[in-house]
Amino acid sequence: MSKRRGYSLERRKVTEGYLFVSVWVIGFLAFTLYPLYMSLKISMTSGKISDILNGEFVGLDHYKRVLTDASFSQVFVDQILKSLMDAPIISIFALIAAVLLNGDIVGKRYFRAVFFAPVIISGLMIRILNSQGAADFSIFQELGSSALLISDIIGEDTFARMGTLLWRSSVEILIFLAGLQSIPRSLYEAAEMDGATPWECFWKITLPTISPIVLLSIIYATIDSFTEPDNQIMGYIRESTITRLDFSYGAAISWMYFLVILLIILIIFYVGRRVTVNEGSQR
């Protein structure tokens, strides 16, 4: 009897699972997945604006055009290198900030609010700077030379880059905070009993336990950096689609760019899986 009951319970869980997910998935299919399929189709046909979906099939012609586009390959390589450097910096900073914010400090709540605040504003700020013709963040020159000494030591360019990266790390800080709070307190108590210093606790307990979260954060930061609306490739795609109305070319660029991102993410994931410490039991 218990066996039959167990089966039907499993069965019910499966149907309920599908039911709960289905609404979201329908929206996702209609407004993301199907449009993605259409854009793949657009990238392989040469349709005009009036009749974009029924263009003539041209196979990979547009993709070949992208490969021979010299100005694009320059932008492309630049952006990939930039994004690959951004993600680890964001993650390391977010980890340090999260560990400090997770400790017992005065005014913890206010500090957390302050570190999360850029999430609502940093995109807008970049837009204003662009509209003032200062897309290169020369704004930091003034701040750097007058207010802070650090910029003299590490150089103004690096300082400006770091600044914008810190503002983009809010979500990663949050991911880390959630991860840190799931570490059982008893581990630290035991370590303290055995005379471990906080420094040792960080390397021997904190980092191994949240290593899956570090991987998650790096992946999130990488994707975020690759797809932020202000990066050069997004600008290039927008230009060819909206300004030059060359939809097929824009779609071809997007798909090639996507394949590169996917490849990079898969590599990170594969390497990350080997480096991170596996918890014995599945939680």
């Binding site: 869980k13 609404v23 999360f116 940093s122 997004m234 795609i237 824009g250």
Partner: protein
């Protein structure tokens, strides 16, 4: 004696941590400072190169310019504001609802196709929004939704980042809680509303902030899916002020400032939830 020294050392390092965090915190607030100070800059200060962080001679001229620019329009500003507010609130509400519904089974149930669904979500995060813009337009017009509120709401409901974050938080909730619930005879529906959702409150507060910011500032879907002026949203309208060139730079700065106020309010309302510590489950694993 030894104990006293230890305590002293701890206080000492605490002081440095707080000093360090305060410094970084000030830095994190700079975008907000910049936004506010730009809105009050007179036009000659707006065009200094490199731009300055702080305003030297604050003025309300930018706001006057903005209202002058709007005076000639037939649609009152309140209409744009109403559209924006309606669309943002409905979208955020359903985004959170659908995300919660979907994240619970994705994290806690086993069913065929579950990993594939989650994989698709991650993959879809990697696409530029520009890629799907035109196909989305075609879908919306095929469904006959053009120029309606639904056209502004429906496409943004399936918010992959939101579901991704919620699922990640849900993974942190121990399974034992749900096992206990099941033993006590709770249905899946009850467990979801009474156990799962309260436990991931930080996640949905995060999603509220992220989704609201994204939708409130989104001028694109209004430009794409609506034609009549009375269906346009506030960011679209303000971007048309921006489009009128350098002469309107001051008005534009003021507009951006006004546009930010609601997102700041939402942030203040929900940040406490986001940053409250994850509920301690009381279960030792």
């Amino acid at each position: 004696m030894l104990k006293k020294r230890f305590k002293f050392k701890k206080d000492y390092s605490l002081f440095f941590i707080i000093l360090f965090l305060s410094g970084l915190g000030l830095f994190m607030m700079l975008p907000l400072v910049f936004l506010v100070s730009t809105a009050f800059k007179p036009s000659e200060e707006l065009f200094i190169y490199p731009p300055r962080f702080f305003v030297e001679n604050p003025t309300l001229q930018n706001f006057k310019d903005l209202f002058l620019a709007m005076a000639g329009d037939q649609i009152p500003l309140s209409r744009y504001f109403f559209n924006s507010l309606l669309v943002s609130c409905i979208t955020v509400f359903f985004t959170v609802l659908l995300g919660s519904l979907a994240c619970y089974p994705l994290s806690k149930h086993k069913f065929p196709g579950k990993d594939q669904i989650f994989g698709l979500i991650i993959v879809s995060l990697m696409f530029a929004p520009e890629v799907v813009e035109i196909p989305r337009y075609l879908v919306v017009s095929y469904l006959g939704l053009m120029d309606t509120y639904s056209a502004l709401i429906l496409p943004s409901l399936a918010f992959p980042i939101g579901l991704f974050l919620m699922k990640q938080f849900m993974d942190q909730v121990p399974d034992e809680i749900f096992e206990a619930g099941r033993i006590d005879g709770a249905s899946e529906w009850t467990m979801m509303w009474r156990l799962a959702l309260p436990l991931i409150r930080p996640a949905w507060a995060t999603v509220v902030i992220l989704a609201f910011t994204a939708i409130w500032n989104d001028a694109g879907s209004s430009a794409l899916f609506t034609q009549s002026e009375e269906m346009k949203t506030l960011p679209y309208y303000l971007s048309t002020v921006n489009g009128q060139g350098v002469a309107r730079a001051g008005a534009n700065a003021a507009a951006t400032f006004i546009l930010t106020v609601p997102t700041v309010l939402i942030f203040i309302l929900f940040q406490r939830q986001v940053l409250s510590t994850m509920a301690h489950s009381g279960i030792k694993s």
